[in-house]
Symmetry: C2
Subunit: 203 residues, 2 copies
C-alpha cells in the first residue's frame, strides 16, 4: 500500500506524519463497529468554544444503511464518486451556526468542526484506516437527503475505509495517488511576532 | 500534574484521550525551538480543501518577541489574561477567506484552520506540552497589533507551554481546572443514516 510520510524539518508524531488522504479504498473490507465507535469518540472529545460541541455527523454505512450511503455518494461531484464508491463508510460533517447555550451566532462552529473531523481522521490512522475528506459535494442535496434542519452548514463528506493498492484506480487518479505530498514552505504560513510585510505567496 | 482522560465506550488513541485544555501553565519553563517547530510542522501537514492551507499563525514567544507576546496577551478578555499570562508562547490562528488559486471565497477556511490547530495541539500533547485555545479575545485588537491584512478572520488565541500544578491558579479557576471533563452523549452529535426527527439537546 502506498505511504506518504510528511517531510518535516524536525520529527513529528507518527500519527500526524503518516496521515494522508488516499483515494484507493478497498471495497470488500468493512469497518468494525468498535472501530467506527472509536472514530466517533475521537471526534466527540475534540475541544470547542464554550464546549458547545457544534459539530454533527451523519454516518452512512453501506452495509447497514445502504439507502443513506447511496444518497451520500450521490451528493458527491462525479470525479469524487469515481473513487469514493469503494469506501464502505461515508460520513457527513456539519457545523451548527448558533450556540446551544444562548442561540447566538457561533463563528467558531466550522473551526471546531474541522478540529473534530481531524481528531476522527487521526484516530482512523491509529486504527489502520484511511479518511479522505471532500468539499466537492452538493450541500443542498445533502440537506434534502439527510433531513438537515435550518441553521447548519454541511462542511465535508468523509470517505472512510481501508486502503487498497493504487491499481484499483483509473490511470489519471492513480497518478494523483502516487504523486508526492506537498505543502508551501513553513515561513509562508507561520510568522513570528507579526504578519510579514514582504510576504509573497508561492501559490 | 492534574490529568483528565476522556471517558470513552471504546479505547481511543492516547494522544486524543489525554489532550485537554488546562489553565495552569508553568511561567518558568520555555519551549525549545525544536519543539516549537514540531508544533508548526504538525499544523502545516494538516489536510485542507484544494490543499490551499488557508491557515496562518502568528507565533509570539515571550522570551524572543516580548512586545508581540504582550500584545497577544492584551487582546485577551481579562479572565483569560489571569491565567494565560503564565504561558511562554501565545499563537494566533487565522483563516484566509479566499482561495489562493482563484481568489474565490473559501467556505472551508475556518474548518481547515481548526484542523491545523488540532494537529498542532495533539503534537503538543505528544511532546508533553499543553495548549489551551481561546475564543475570548478582541479580534480587532489582534488585527491592529499584528498588522493583519484584509480578508482574514482571527480564529483563536492559543496558549502553549508546560503544565503546572493547579495551585498556581486562583481559587475559582482552580475549581474549573479540577472539574471533570464532559461531553454530551454520543447520540446527540453522531447520527446514523439521517438527522434524527426526535432529537432533544440536553444543553
Amino acid at each position: 500500500m502506498h505511504a506518504k510520510s510528511a517531510k518535516t524539518q524536525v520529527e513529528i508524531h507518527e500519527l500526524i506524519q503518516n496521515r494522508w488522504s488516499p483515494r484507493a479504498f478497498d471495497p470488500d473490507k468493512e469497518i468494525s463497529q468498535d472501530d467506527l465507535l472509536a472514530l466517533l469518540e475521537a471526534a466527540r472529545w475534540a475541544p470547542s468554544c464554550f464546549n458547545d460541541q457544534p459539530w454533527r455527523y451523519v454516518v452512512c454505512v453501506k452495509a447497514q444503511t445502504p439507502v443513506s450511503w447511496e444518497n451520500a455518494l450521490a451528493t458527491l461531484v462525479e470525479k469524487n464518486q469515481q473513487w469514493a464508491k469503494n469506501a464502505p463508510v461515508l460520513i457527513l460533517s456539519i457545523a451548527m451556526e448558533h450556540f446551544n447555550h444562548n442561540g447566538k451566532p457561533n463563528r467558531w462552529a466550522p473551526y471546531d468542526t474541522g478540529a473534530a473531523s481531524l481528531s476522527l481522521t487521526l484516530q482512523a490512522t491509529a486504527l489502520g484506516l484511511i479518511v479522505h475528506q471532500m468539499g466537492g459535494f452538493d450541500a443542498d442535496k445533502a440537506r434534502a437527503f439527510f433531513n438537515l434542519p435550518e441553521g447548519c452548514q454541511p462542511m465535508s463528506m468523509m470517505a472512510v475505509g481501508y486502503q487498497a493498492d493504487a491499481d484499483v484506480l483509473s490511470d489519471d487518479l492513480k497518478e494523483v495517488e502516487l504523486a508526492v505530498r506537498s505543502r508551501v514552505p513553513l515561513e509562508q504560513r507561520f510568522y513570528f511576532g507579526q504578519w510579514p510585510s514582504d510576504l509573497v505567496d508561492s501559490e
